[in-house]
Amino acid sequence: MLGYIVKRLLQLIPTLIGVTLFAFLLVAAVPGDPAQIIAGDSASPEEVEIIRSQLGIDKPLYEQYMSYVVNILHGDLGTSLRSSQPVLDEILSRFPTSFILTVMSLIIMIIVGLIAGIASATKPNSLRDNVSMMFSLFGISMPVFWMGIMFILLFSYYLPWFPSGGSTEFKHFVLPSIVLGLSASGVLARLTRSSILEIVNQDFIRTARAKGLKEKYVIYKHTLKNALIPIITIVGMEFGILLGGAVITETVFSMNGIGRYVVESIQFRDFPAIQGSILFISTLFVFIILLVDLSYSVVDPRVRYEN
């Protein structure tokens, strides 16, 4: 097991290099001279030159990249142009909000998605199946920002049960998590259904039924356990997608999370902040995918040997 973990960690290195390279090139590829943008139109050429050397963009590209990576390893993601604060501090102060939102939505997604998926797979082509599959199609097709606005209208304006924005108390998280969780549950429900249906037709399930096991036992103990790998994959992928989806949800519900920080940084053309937050989220995502991969080997030990 330990060997497998080490191997997977080593495989991560090229991906992480790629991610840093992408984040680096993102800013290097910005059309125009960043120093000029920062200095403004009225700045003298000398002033622009000073800013250029401050940013280190007067050096060749590979040197810039090397110093960028060294800085990242020292926990330095640059300084925000907007607030003059270290980008990492700004991200970390917003991270708990995004994290709580993502985890709460993930829980809602898993509960709703699994129930809907199991409900339809256990009675394929029934009314129950059709209703839950239509529900998941709606979940996939509904714009999350629109659902957010409708929820604010319903549960904050017409029925004043929850606040329409903010991120300081638990009640602020209820509506956004439901919106985000429901919108993501559609994908999980569809996948759960198809994975269960695939397993249900296999010989060992027929054997389980033939030896007289209760249907409940067949579904939960035999089928679901074997359908778990694709379900875990999608839950892991959804974690990243939710972090991305949180960009919109945080904006709709005026929450002070990383997603909203990215949007504001793009609007202000605050490049170090954009670069830093994209690097942060994608690195997090890479590690989540690693956890997903490792969990395969727990759920299905064959994975370890195949690798």
Binding site: T15, S141, F145, L153, G244, V247, V262, I274
Partner: protein, 299 residues
């Protein structure tokens, strides 16, 4: 005697009902039987017709201000009401369908062109080329979809063309992966081996044999990705990072209408409902195509 006559008549029945069908005919038949798929097809076709005929069927100019009819609720003369500048919402929705259709088509077109080419090359040639291409795709996949689109917009600047490019890029790895796995499943088949031994060039084999045999999942994926593209573009415009006002893009309309959510609810509800309907249509069509082409397909 009686029995043998019965058998003959049964056999005759069988021969009269049996018609040889091509795989395509069988697929169309399966598709037509699927109610949800047909509804999806109707919605999609309606959306495309509206987009094409927009200038002729919209009752008002989508950009024309009318200070005498500000924020009016839905009525006979304005079925979807008017916005804060007195513009007719129905006309704006109709014109907005052109933008969404274009984003869907161009965005997904870019991903098909690049993604399918890369996936084919990786799958067909294998080895080091495959490793390099797929590692790059893995890196692109390391960015959660919407975030990748945001990152690209942040470099290129917020406007419609850049939204299409961003959406095009973020679907490339998805197409490349699907295409690669289909190509790998096809490339060792006997008919490919036969063409090779007859001296067919790689280009000929890919164009004539590999791509046509891998096209089914690409058709399904394209339909579904158009839905994602429309949704993503609307999301970007909603954040103010896509189409800019006064463009009648649906996401942008929703963003503008949000300010009037209490006084004019229709400005937020209508564009959202329309986006959902169109996206739903493409998703149902995609599902139907998958079930008709190959229900075992992993998309």
């Amino acid at each position: 005697m009686e029995i043998s006559e019965k058998v003959i008549s049964q056999n005759q029945n069988v021969t009269t009902t049996y018609e040889p069908r091509s795989p395509w005919q069988m697929m169309i038949k399966r598709f037509k039987k699927n109610k949800r798929a047909m509804i999806g097809l109707y919605i999609t076709v309606l959306f495309i017709i509206v987009a094409i005929l927009a200038p002729w069927i919209s009752p008002y100019d989508p950009y024309a201000y009318n200070m005498k009819a500000l924020l009016q609720p839905p009525s006979l003369s304005h079925p979807f009401g008017t916005d804060q500048f007195g513009r007719d919402v129905l006309s704006r929705i109709i014109h907005g369908s052109r933008i969404s259709l274009m984003i869907g088509m161009v965005g997904v077109g870019i991903s098909i062109l690049v993604g399918v080419s890369l996936g084919t090359i990786a799958g067909y040639f294998g080895g080091i080329i495959d490793s390099i291409i797929m590692r790059i795709m893995d890196i692109l996949l390391a960015f959660p979809g919407f975030l990748l689109a945001l990152a690209i917009i942040s470099i290129l600047g917020p406007n419609m063309l850049n939204v299409m490019i961003a959406i095009g890029i973020f679907s490339i790895p998805v197409f490349a992966r699907i295409m690669r796995s289909s190509v790998i499943s096809v490339k060792y088949k006997e008919f490919i081996e036969a063409t090779k031994s007859l001296g067919g060039s790689h280009f000929f084999i890919i164009m004539k044999h590999v791509i046509p045999n891998c096209i089914a999942p690409i058709i399904v994926l394209s339909t579904m990705r158009i839905a994602t593209a429309i949704l993503t573009a609307a999301g970007l415009s909603f954040l103010g990072l896509g189409a800019q006002p006064p463009s009648p893009e649906w996401g942008a309309m929703l963003n503008e209408g949000r300010e009037y959510i209490r006084s004019a609810t229709h400005l937020s509800t209508v564009p959202g409902l329309i986006i959902m309907l169109v996206v739903l249509g493409f998703n149902m069509l995609g599902d139907g195509l998958r079930d008709a082409l190959d229900p075992q397909m992993k998309i």
